[in-house]
Symmetry: C2
Subunit: 350 residues, 2 copies
């Protein structure tokens, strides 16, 4: 898989325009959702036709994909055309898949407009849609030809969006080095200085790039990016089952703490780091999952149903021996997980 | 793009079984159409569940694709599952695309059951479906993990199917060498000895493999595989417009002759070869297109609308300086094309 070209900038329009000039495509087509069309596109003032989808994960489906393909045809797109996906993870995932399959693949640029999509979904070549109720069930590995990363669209983002994305940045810091991780814990994401956030974001994206480059098809080290996600998905799914959805990034932030505790049991991850991390979450408003010990069996079942796991007795996790040192393909027993959930609740005051 | 593993065999079941043993997939799913299910599968007697689509190019659409994806989910397919596409080009194209996009890509084997799909569609990594009336508009470059090629399913094929596939073999011979081409002209495809056909087919597939390997994304020499197709598609489309469809392979066989004549004008392709080739077509029942000189303007318009062409004044062709020596990215003027259609009609007695 070829490296993606990633531009870090405070001027999205200029970056996009210079990319288009370089690539001289036959036609250019923006793909976005109706929220981004209203809130962001007027500020960018790009002279290209726009294909608009409904916002939100529910719209990440075959109907929207089919709509995008049809609009590309109606807009005269050829094999030499260019798609520009401007939006959050739903837009970059679905628009990327639309481009990757239109006439067997045309070029596309991602312009993530949320912190979460900038740090996560816009890089790494995973594209796709939900299908028959399964998330990202249909898709392709197809890296964007270029990604334009800017914090300039974050000013109007609700705080919950920033916190969500920052959880993934904390994860990347934990996978990268103590120094990177310390720098992230010293940054106040709630009252974020967006100019100072850009270089932190750049560092964070480069962690993911490095890992994805080493293992594009997730056969080894890329699984480290699942840190926090096995427990996190369980929190997220439990909340969904109760019709009380929690933001993905919050669930990941909590999941990281659970997996730090497991790391403390199994890999001597330092206890002091548990407190330091839990304090960051509490001081910056990540909230807590609404769980009691009655929920443990369901949480365990959800963890063992996570797609990376094969047996219920040994659930697969990415663990850490210390910040900056991930260990992939580790397992934990149900007893250890139960105990870690107890400690999690203590630390978070649930 | 990695080389595909291609097995040439008279025992499909044994070849498939040994491939499955090697790959030890989580689950195995056969994709086929209802004709092949009835005519071929009972003879193969493979112990895997079958996903059946409607036969024919009209079924190569998003609904069928969606049906295949759903059936893979219902059948418990995981990332480690294996799809076996058994059928003609529609099945291998659509089944390949379904596999290439299910959970961002699972492994698949192609077992072409027609000569045309054996020689053409099953090799080279082009997968896809028709969309909004456009052929192969949606798809991906995704080579099969293995292809099992056998002539054993051809015994019950109607003659028109064999002739169609053989046109692509003649094309490969013309792209390869005088010797290969002569061997093909010496073989009687109408009363085909299937055991003798298998080594000829192997040679033919290897020509395509070699070209595709050199240029997987069709940026150069792979365009040589378009020999006969610019004029051929025009014959095919004209016939379709008149509700009198002609077999794809017949149209290609005719198109090759038109492009040989253009090659004679522009590249000194030997005149004697025009007669020799035209005689093979006439003696083996390829028929002729129902055209008069009144159809030339429409044929020219169709050629200039072919996706490889940019301007109507210089239409792009693959030409030949002699059998075995293709020349890509050549152009011809409308006058030369008109003249070549006159000579084509003379040679074929239209």
């Amino acid at each position: 898989m070829t490296m993606q070209k990633i531009l870090y900038t405070n001027d999205i329009s200029r970056a996009v325009t210079s990319l288009v000039d370089e690539m001289h495509p036959a036609t250019v087509h923006i793909i976005t959702d109706s929220n981004v069309e209203r809130e962001v596109l007027p500020k960018l003032d790009l002279p290209y036709p726009v294909i608009v989808t409904e916002p939100g994960d529910v719209a990440k489906n075959l109907d929207s994909l089919s709509h995008i393909w049809s609009e590309l045809i109606n807009g005269g797109a050829t094999r030499k055309s260019l798609v520009i996906n401007i939006g959050g993870g739903v837009v970059t995932d679905m628009g990327g898949f639309a481009a990757a399959t239109f006439k067997r693949g045309i070029r596309f640029i991602n312009v993530p407009t949320t912190l979460l999509s900038a740090v996560d979904a816009a890089v790494g070549g995973k594209t796709g849609i939900n299908f028959n109720g399964f998330k990202n069930e249909i898709g392709a590995f197809a890296p964007a030809d270029a990604v334009v990363i800017s914090t300039s669209t974050f000013a109007t983002l609700p705080c919950v969006e920033l916190l969500s994305g920052y959880a993934e940045m904390l994860k990347h810091g934990l996978l990268s080095s103590e120094e990177d991780y310390n720098e992230l814990l010293a940054f106040d994401i709630v009252n974020a200085d967006l100019d100072r956030l850009l270089p932190l974001l750049e560092k964070s994206v480069k962690v993911k790039e490095r890992i994805v480059e080493e293992d594009p098809r997730e056969q080894g080290i890329r699984r480290a990016l699942n840190l926090g996600h096995t427990a996190g998905h369980a929190f997220e799914s439990l909340a969904l089952e109760r019709n009380a959805a929690v933001p993905h990034g919050y669930a990941v932030a909590w999941g990281i703490l659970v997996e730090m505790i497991l790391s403390n049991f199994a890999e001597q991850f330092p206890s002091a780091e548990l407190y330091r991390y839990a304090n960051y979450l509490k001081e910056h408003g990540y909230g807590t999952p609404a769980i009691t010990c009655d929920d443990y069996p369901r949480l365990l079942a959800l963890m063992s149903h996570d797609k990376k796991n094969d047996t219920p007795d040994h659930i697969n996790f990415t663990l850490l021996s210390r910040p900056g040192t991930p260990l992939i393909d580790r397992t934990a027993t149900p007893d250890h997980i139960t105990e870690s959930l107890d400690i999690f609740r203590d630390l978070m005051g649930v």
